[in-house]
Amino acid sequence: MIYTIASIRLGIIGDPYVPADGINVAALLSGGFIVEQSTPKPKKPAKTSTEPNEEI
């Protein structure tokens, strides 16, 4: 999971956050100190104009 800093109390806002050992990530998320960075979904393949078994 990738996190981004959302509070200056934790660091520079917008920087990636890598939790150290012993850090309660759930509490940071709950308090709004970090946010989960959404990962881009892979693009769907383009639709083919013809069915695979369709006669041309």
């Binding site: 934790l10 050992d21 509490a27 308090g31 709004g32 100190f33």
Partner: protein, 136 residues
Amino acid sequence: MATSTYLSNATVQINGVDVTDQVSAASIVRVIEALESTSFGKTARVYVGGLENSTLTLTMYNSFAASETYATLAALVGTSTTVTIKPTSAATSATNPISTLTGCYLETLPIVNAALGALDTIDITFTGGVYSVATS
């Protein structure tokens, strides 16, 4: 000559969050539980070291604003976390060591401690965990 360190500019982090401007007092006490090992033939009690059970007590100004005291602590009650404290905000060194309690437990959190005409302050105590100190 004996000297004292006054925590006038100490820095405190709870769960990685800098709460220095919300803390007015801090006390970290390292405790190694004493296990009695006195046996017959002894004329005085004898102890050996048991489990470590250090504590860090903080007095904090309560605030429910975003990224302040309540937001930092609310989700930590009943869980373990890491807290650090340093005598001054200067760089970590032999004369400004940083103390860390890793895996310490927050059992209680006062929600409101209201008094007429006074700031809302709370005392919290982190218990247990592994104590370490770094000078660099």
